[in-house]
């Protein structure tokens, strides 16, 4: 183990980890937005929205995220979409994870007992009121853990943007492996940073989940 080397290069890895964190946060926000819209579409009363939602989920879950990213970043300019690598990474990964989150959110909503909707509709609440005051508060609690699984996958998924040369953790590890020929050290360094990010996020989600359960 080359400890000197690790001590020499670790500041660059810390910088890269910060990029990974930024990517993760922005991707998660975009993913949640796409997931909420997707779930609303899939549960819509209107067939056309349901079809759009189903096609979105099927296409984006049915093809590799890496290919989606390449289509956006390398193919985008051909159809008039010019993005830098970081922007393309956030949008590509966010829309991709949004398809998975759509299913998570929809799953939590349909897991709420039909009787809950029936009881609130019986009292005279409208479809939207029943969703807003009765179903969603309960579904929100159910979806914290599975969304946590999506977010865990998303953090690891940000590594894909190394393939479009965003200088985040995996790209940095790859570059230093190439220049130092020390794959184990570089893996250990970047792997540790990924684990810290993932562990901290996991703790945050567990905390949210506990808090939601108490009330």
């Amino acid at each position: 183990m080359d400890v000197d080397l690790i001590l020499r290069v670790y500041p660059f890895f810390l910088q890269a980890a910060w990029v990974t964190i930024q990517l993760s946060v922005l991707t998660a926000v975009l993913g949640l937005a796409c997931g909420s819209l997707g779930a609303a579409a899939r549960l819509s009363r209107l067939r056309i929205f349901r079809i759009i939602g189903a096609v979105y989920v099927s296409l984006f879950r049915g093809t590799p995220a890496l290919i989606q990213l390449f289509i956006l970043y390398f193919g985008g300019p051909q159809i008039g979409i010019q993005l830098d690598a970081f922007e393309a990474g956030v949008i590509g990964l966010g829309v991709n994870i949004g398809a998975y989150m759509t299913e998570t959110i929809r799953g939590a909503i349909i897991a709420i007992d039909r009787g809950q909707t029936e009881a609130s509709r019986t009292l005279g609440l409208s479809r939207w009121q029943s969703m807003r005051y009765v179903v969603l508060p309960q579904a929100a609690r159910l979806m914290i853990r599975p969304l946590g699984v999506n977010i865990n996958a998303l953090i690891k998924g940000t590594a894909l943007v190394a393939a479009i040369s965003v200088v985040e953790l995996t790209y940095t590890a790859q570059r230093y492996i190439g220049s130092t020929y020390k794959p184990f050290e570089m893996f250990l360094l970047s792997g540790t940073l990924y684990m810290i990010i993932i562990y901290a996020t996991g703790r945050g989600i567990a905390w949210l989940d506990r808090r939601a359960r108490i009330t």
């Binding site: 809950q116 009881a119 009292l123 005279g124 609440l125 309960q138």
Partner: protein, 257 residues
């Protein structure tokens, strides 16, 4: 308009695909009347009850409440608004209570009055206390549903429905999911409502309760009303062979328990 009874069902029919669950049902309920619907499972009695407030809309036929047709054919938006309006006048109590688990007893009761009747928090609170006192559960006002027994849950569900000041109450096997020792407390609340002349339609398996509380009993089987009449007649001296067979079987199984 005024030639309809308080609650009136005309030529009600419903099918799920090729399966006909209700066939040509007619029913009139006067204000303050208490009607029990009995029959084997799958006879369509719950479906009929759920059709009254449009949870399971009829395929054809009409349902009227105090001169207003509940199942009017309207464009979607108008229909939704209309149904939300009329449902406020129809209280419903379910077999599995369907209390909102994320809300306290108080919030369960005040949710709809606050949202739909524009009540202030103070007014709604007073209302909740009043309704809970009626079902004898004032001390549980800040409990969550998970902290209540089945009988208590059902009493809260009744209080929640009553808080909307409904014109008619529907009970869908309200005591079927309860342990035997908890049935009585719910029956007592329902009897109390009967004494206050609340109009009620009750789907039930409890013949003794139906006999002692109801003005009229309907026996349904295979999606039709086979026989109807005052409880003395239906329970003591039914005319129809199917009614007799059902009651005989029911008494037997109850004895065997």
């Amino acid at each position: 308009m005024t030639d309809t009874a308080f609650v009136e069902i005309r030529n009600a029919a419903k099918s799920f695909g090729s399966l006909q669950v209700l066939r040509d049902i007619n029913l009139k309920v006067e204000r303050g009347q208490i009607v029990a619907i009995i029959g084997p499972s799958g006879s369509g009695k719950s479906t009929l009850l759920r059709a009254i407030n449009e949870l399971d809309p009829l395929s054809s036929g009409e349902i009227w409440l105090e001169g207003v047709q509940i199942n009017k054919k309207l464009p979607h938006r108008q229909y939704e608004r209309h149904v939300n309006q009329v449902r406020q006048d129809i209280g419903m109590v379910f077999q599995h209570f369907n209390l909102f688990p994320h809300l306290t007893v108080r919030e369960n009761i005040t949710l709809a009055p606050k949202l739909l009747k524009g009540m202030s928090a103070g007014e709604a609170n007073a209302l909740a206390e009043q309704q809970l006192a009626k079902v004898g559960l004032m001390e549980k006002i800040d409990a969550y549903p998970s902290q209540l027994s089945g009988g208590q849950k059902q009493r809260v569900a009744i209080a929640r429905a009553l808080a909307m000041k409904p014109k008619v109450m529907l009970f869908d096997e309200a005591t079927s999911a309860l342990d035997p020792e908890l049935v009585e407390e719910v029956n007592l609340v329902m009897k109390q409502l009967a004494e206050e002349h609340m109009t009620m339609i009750i789907v039930t398996h409890e013949m003794g309760f139906a006999e002692s509380v109801c003005d009229r009993v309907l026996f349904m089987d295979g999606g039709v009303v086979v026989e109807e009449g005052p409880p003395e007649v239906i329970f003591r001296n039914p005319e129809n062979e199917r009614t007799r067979a059902f009651l005989r079987k029911h008494l037997q199984t109850n004895h065997n328990r």
